[in-house]
Every structure is written in C-alpha cells, then in structure tokens.
Symmetry: C2
Amino acid sequence: MARNNTITDIDNSTEEKIKKAARIVFTGKGYAAAKVRDIAAEADINVALVNYYFRSKEKLFEIIMDETIKKHVEKIQNVINDESSTLEDKVEAIVEHYIGLLIENPELPYFFVNEIMSGSNKLPKMVSENKLFMNSYFLKQLQARQKKGKMAFHPVNILVNMLGLIVFPFLARPLLVQSGTIQEDEFKQIIEERKKLVPIWLTQIMNQ
Amino acid sequence: MARNNTITDIDNSTEEKIKKAARIVFTGKGYAAAKVRDIAAEADINVALVNYYFRSKEKLFEIIMDETIKKHVEKIQNVINDESSTLEDKVEAIVEHYIGLLIENPELPYFFVNEIMSGSNKLPKMVSENKLFMNSYFLKQLQARQKKGKMAFHPVNILVNMLGLIVFPFLARPLLVQSGTIQEDEFKQIIEERKKLVPIWLTQIMNQ
DNA sequence: AAATGTTTTAAACGGTTGTTTAAATTTTGT
DNA sequence: ACAAAATTTAAACAACCGTTTAAAACATTT
C-alpha cells in the first residue's frame, strides 16, 4: 500500500508531480501540442507512469480541467450570490480577486480559450449546471437597476464587459510586450492600476 | 506553365483551394490539432499537393498568418492615423469595423490566441515593425486629452479596453450559448447592440 | 526473510504524423 | 500531333504519437 501518502509527502507524490507538470504543459501549449512525453519530462518521470496513474492523456486533461474549473466557479458563486453587498461591492470583489488570480496564473486565459477551441463542453456544462449567472443575486440587482431607468441594454453585457476588462489584457500581453508597445514591468503597473480602474469604469457603465 | 492562372479561375485554383481549407482547419482547431490530411480533405485534394504547393505545413501556416495579419493591420493603420477625425470618430470607426469583421469571421480571435500560444512572434513583429499604436495620431489625441486633466492612467488602457470590449464577447460566445446564459440569436442581437454601446462606454472612460 | 503488493523502468506496439517518391495524368508550347 | 512541363495521384517513408507490456526495483505484510 505504498500508494497511500501521508500529509507531508503528498505534494511530492508521483501523482501530484504529474498533475503539476501537466498543468504547466497543457496551459503552455494547449491539449494537442502538449505531448505525454513533454509532461513526463517536465515531471522528471518515466512516460509510462502517466498512463499508470491516469489511464490516458485525455483522462489526465479532464482531471486537470475539472479541478481548475471547480476551484474558480466556487469562488465566483459565493461572491455573486451575497445578498448583503451592493452591485459595486460585487464588481470590486470580483475584479480584485480575478486580476489577482491572473497575476499569479497569467496563462489561465489560454487554457480556457484552448478548451473552448477543442470543442469540449466541460466548461459550459460546469457553468450551466449551477446556472451561475442566470440564477444569481447579481443578476437580480442588475435588473433592479434597469427598472430605475439605467442600463438600457441586455444585463449580460455587464458580465461580458467585466470579464473582458479583467481577462483581455492578459491575452494581449505577449502582443503588447513583444511589439514594444509597453515594457514588461509597465504591464504589471498597468494591471495593478486596473484593479481600481475597472470597477470605476464598470460603475460608470452601470449608471449610464 | 499551367500554374499561371487567369483572373477567372484563380479562386478555384488548387493553391487557393488549399489556402481556403487551411484557413478553416487552422482557425477551427489550432496549428497542432490541424492535420495536413484534414486540410487536404477539406480542400478535396490529394495530401501530397499541400507539400507540392507550400513545401510544408509550417510554411502554409505562415503564409495564412501573414496574409491575415497584413489585411487587418493595414485597415486599422488607416483609421488611427487619420488626422481629420476626432477620438470619438476613430473609436466608432474601429468598433464598427471590427465587430462587423468578427460577425463574419467569429473564429478569428481563436486563430490569434492560438498563434500567441504557439510562441511564434510573427504577430508582435508585424505590430512593432509599423509601431502601430505608439506612432499613431490616435495616441497623440489621447495624450492631448490627458493634458486637459482627463484619463489619469496609461493611454494603452484605452487600446486594451477597446480591443477587449470588441473581441471578448466572441471568445466567450460558446460559453455563453452552451451554458444557456443566452441564446444564439440573442447573441447576435447583443453584438449588434454593442456596435453602438461600446463607443459610448469608451467615450465615458476617455472623459473620466 | 519470504511472500505479496506497489511502483518504476526500458522497450516495444500499432497507429498517425508530415513529407517524399515515382509514376500517371493533364496542360501547355510549338 | 508531339514533346515538354506542370499537375495530380497512390504508395511508401521515417519519425513521432499515445499506450501497453513484462520485467525490475522497491515497499509492506506476515
């Protein structure tokens, strides 16, 4: 029963080493370009161990995908269904949290875009099962504001704008930096700025 | 010299058939997942013809990439360096043009994201060679507005916001539709709405 | 310490990949 | 109509892919 790990060595277990490597390789190049031998090399283990622990490349990817989605869906669910906070509070909390998350995991947007590209429907399933946006208190608050004559457009625009303003800079980052439009350290400053700016901009949009 | 096409059959030439098919397959699944045999099947030609006309898969991809980038860089260059139009005019023109373009080529954002992911630097090279944004009259106008006390942040935020508000809905489309957050025809309405809304929102941001 | 169970390894597998070959077919120039 | 050139084809290629195998190495139980 050598496979039962204690709490101390669970992070260094082969299984966890493979998952960690897989996250790096999958998010770095996408599913198709990520080769099992790349993952094995990154994890510094024998190729066969990937199949030994995860049966197949696809199963491994699904596990990584499930864990990643679950982690981030749970967080947003708590925020957007908090009945004690205002719309502005929620926007501020979401922007703050997700920009912070993307600063530490800047390759995450590529992971999701690649998952969408691959034609998998695991991501939308995860969202629809929880009726994340449509059943949220966040949406109710948006609709309440519309009845006050504000926001003469579909409420989903707010969701799209918020996510777009959060995520897009990270997608465009290599273009901006490599083209010399901005420097790498400038980018970090700008992103830090945006933690305050994006909620202000969204507030303007919601009060139009 | 059968390879010299007349004007009439140039669209039906094997070379053009391959490029057309390659655009579909590459943008649909990304470089790695797009197989040469997929492209041949899409073009309804023999696999060997791809190499006969384009030497290699990579060369073919580069040609497609170059043409796609060139086409869209030229357009934006004309708009942002027009000295007879206001900032608001430019934003309106860019938003109108690129949302229109994305309505007809909704897979384009995935193509570019995939190119960024692949680690190629063709795209940033194209942008930097022309100093697209940094040498633009558009930037001069933004800086002029800053001197009036508006926009207390890096001007590149306007560029990022504009592109994000244009492009992001198309990236999120499969998520929004498949999750049941919006319907497919609703999406088209919302995008059409956004042609007018995005310039309004950006004007608000620029006058803050 | 012997037996049993678990993990790791090197090697090989069948299939797919991009590419090349050489022959067949079609088009062009004279 | 004939020769030359260009195009298309089926087949094969070597390299790479995900996966399997069987033996070795290691750990645990009795």
